[in-house]
């Protein structure tokens, strides 16, 4: 039961709150002139948000519980491995690299909140899964935050920002190179029909733009089959492409769709060669019923060499990753995560050499990297924000015996059409 003292207390609280409001000038958010801004610190190096004398904080916005859970896990673990190794070597600029991980579960609200939470406290983002979410914060990245963001998505719609940098070929370029492979090595020729099975959404539609361009250049006709990510049975698509008489097929969908398509195609004797984008394969497929068909007639276009490549960098990564995460599968997410982290690391090292570890310094440092090789077959050029860092595509094929389930059939190459293509145009 309220007494007079209680009422007095409430009134007092109200008054206190009112006073607090008028005293807002003392809020920690208030701007003290001269307090803000980049400051020189240990070793005469300019630092800003996310960097102290001891640590460099990088944000990771990943998906470990949503639709891209398996990709997110591989990418994040590879990046944590990178941070661990670089810290064991003394870190960058004498500072330890620390990853701050937030799992958004492919939920827009959580992704945007994660960005809002992390952006004041990190130097940049070594990983951001989900191109719609990257697009959602693009205004803030370009307008005020200006920190480097490396998305784990390869859609051309992400290009153009000096701060959001796509690593490796975009889906359209990859598809052009894939069509080039079918023409040069798999007997597809002028006048033929090319089937294209693609996801609704920017991945598939970006790939379709590439397929149409490649077809226009080479005199092919594209037969489109648009599917949803929830469609798992490709029988109808195979039937209608067979009826249309296609001589080659590109799949811009997920691993399940690719497995279904290749399996059904083998069963109904659709003889056309089939190639998928890098997201249309996972090593787990080889253990399924579609396994034999996949090893026989399926190819995968990829921005990098597979994890099982016969190179010192790849072998070391495989050994280290196995030691750190013995129970987890080795897939191309590991390569993608490692490459992204090492590109960020490279930019940090350059920024350190220029004694400027601010966001601006890192952005500038990245723009000077014109031939970076992460050890997986492709070289990256970051000098032009409007272009993907590489137009090279490696063609792989599934192989049960190889580590990660894939081996190279054509080394990194840029087709003529991909060279002349204006990305995102």
């Amino acid at each position: 039961m309220p007494t007079r003292t209680q009422v007095t207390r409430t009134t007092a609280a109200t008054l206190a709150a009112l006073l607090a409001l008028t005293a807002a000038g003392c809020s920690s958010k208030a701007k003290d002139s001269g307090k803000d801004g980049d400051k020189p610190s240990a070793g005469g190096i300019k630092t800003g948000q996310g960097v102290t004398d001891k640590t460099i904080k990088l944000g990771v916005l990943t998906d470990m519980t949503g639709v891209y859970a398996s990709l997110g896990k591989s990418v994040t673990q590879a990046q944590q491995l990178y941070a661990k190794q670089i810290n064991a070597d003394g870190g960058i600029c004498g500072r330890k690299v620390e990853l701050v991980v937030r799992d958004h579960g492919y939920d827009p609200q959580k992704a945007v909140s994660g960005y809002t939470e992390l952006s004041p406290q990190v130097l940049g983002f070594a990983q951001f899964i989900g191109s719609p979410f990257v697009a959602a914060v693009k205004q803030r990245v370009d307008g005020q935050d200006k920190g480097l963001v490396i998305p784990q998505a390869w859609s051309a719609s992400l290009l153009g920002s000096p701060y959001i940098r796509v690593i490796g070929n975009t889906y359209d370029v990859e598809t052009i190179n894939a069509v080039d492979f079918l023409m040069k090595e798999k007997g597809l020729k002028k006048g033929d029909k090319l089937g294209h099975v693609y996801f609704e959404g920017d991945y598939g539609e970006n790939a379709l733009a590439g397929a149409k361009y490649a077809a226009g250049e080479a005199g092919l006709t594209v037969v489109e089959q648009k599917i949803k990510p929830t469609d798992n049975d490709m029988t109808a698509q195979v039937a209608s492409l067979k009826k249309a008489g296609v001589k080659g097929v590109v799949i811009s969908a997920g691993p399940r769709q690719a497995a279904s398509f290749v399996g059904v195609a083998a069963a109904v004797k659709l003889q056309a060669p089939i190639i998928g984008n890098n997201s249309a394969f996972s090593p787990q497929l080889l253990a399924t019923q579609a396994g034999p068909a996949l090893t026989k007639n399926y190819y995968v276009a990829s921005p990098t060499q597979p994890i099982g490549t016969d190179s010192p960098a790849a072998k070391k990564l495989v050994a280290d990753y196995r030691a750190a995460y013995p129970s987890d599968a080795l897939d191309n997410g590991v390569v993608a995560g490692w490459t992204a982290a090492s590109v960020f690391g490279e930019a940090l090292k350059k920024a350190c050499a220029a004694k400027d570890l601010t966001r601006e310094g890192v952005d500038k440092a990245l723009l000077t990297i014109d031939a970076y090789d992460s050890g997986f077959g492709t070289t990256h050029d970051f000098t032009d924000p409007k272009a993907p860092s590489s137009r090279q595509t490696v063609v792989l094929r599934p192989d049960k015996k190889a580590t990660g389930g894939m081996k190279v059939v054509r080394e990194a190459e840029v087709s003529q059409a991909a060279e002349s293509f204006t990305v995102g145009g």
Binding site: T10, A24, A30, G66, K73, V101, P108, F133, A135
Partner: protein, 352 residues
Amino acid sequence: MSEPIKRLRRPALWTAGAVLLLALPFYLDRFWLQAGLFAMAAAIGAIGLNLLTGATGQLSMGHAFFLAVGAYGYCVLAGDSTATLTGLNLPSWLAAVLAVALAGVAGGLFSPIAGRLQGAYLGIATLALIFIGQHVLFNAHDLTGGFNGRDVPPLSLFGVTFDESELLVAAVPFGSAEKLWYVALLALAGCALFARGVLRGRPGRAMNAIRDHRIAAGVMGVPVARYRAGVFVLSSMYAGLAGVLLALVFQRTVPEYFGMILSLEYLAMIVIGGLGSVAGAVVGAVFVSLLPQLLTRYSDALPLVSAPGTGGVAPGEASRYLYGAAVVAVVLFLPGGLVRPALRRKTTTPGE
């Protein structure tokens, strides 16, 4: 308790609360303000759904569709026309009003169905709206921007633009979150008062009568079909306003968001908070929209949760378990919702 003190106490509490809410943008950082904005937008949507489901007993699974109509309606009406996108370039305040009206019109178009169906049947019928809505959002490229959505033009009101441009108020820099806070607060207060008025007046009693006994309500002279259709339109307009606010906070509309999960979340809000009351909707909305964010943010400090990528339960998973457990606990132990124990103590009747 003595009357004058009781009369003094409520306004004092309300003033304290209001002052606190008004002062928050001066102190909280952007993460919390944004979380609060999401909660306020959700609260407006939940009030609307509570009018429909809680007070009138009409189950709607299509709430997310009307949120989308509001959000995208605002973008199309206020946005610029570009090579790939259509926009009408109206003043943004007008666009916001029209977007709410548009959501009402969408609800009105559905009202022949909403007026005739009840309970689970209406739930199934409204489910169709979600699927149609998702299909349109993904494929009407020149209106919605397709998969990647489209940018949301900032709101402009009385010469103040609610964008990222900094405005110094008492030495505190005001960005979009700080400025929008007051818009959202005002909108929420208006919506809550209006809904309270509706619920306490004749329409509210008619709505409750329809929920409790449709035939009896009809016999007493309540035009059942007209009321059902009307409350559906009103609830759509609330959803439309929530959609406009959400779009302004997100700064980009993404079709992925307006799916069935969102509709279910709104239903969870009103069930957790308390069916049929404005306070219940607000409390439920705050609970449901803040809980996952809190869990994700403080996952490091929680027991049994490990950092993502180190194996074990990831914060995202943990937040889902806890969220699910919270829903079950509320339904089991507080069947009237979070606001009900307080109410029950006051209204206990001898028969209970």
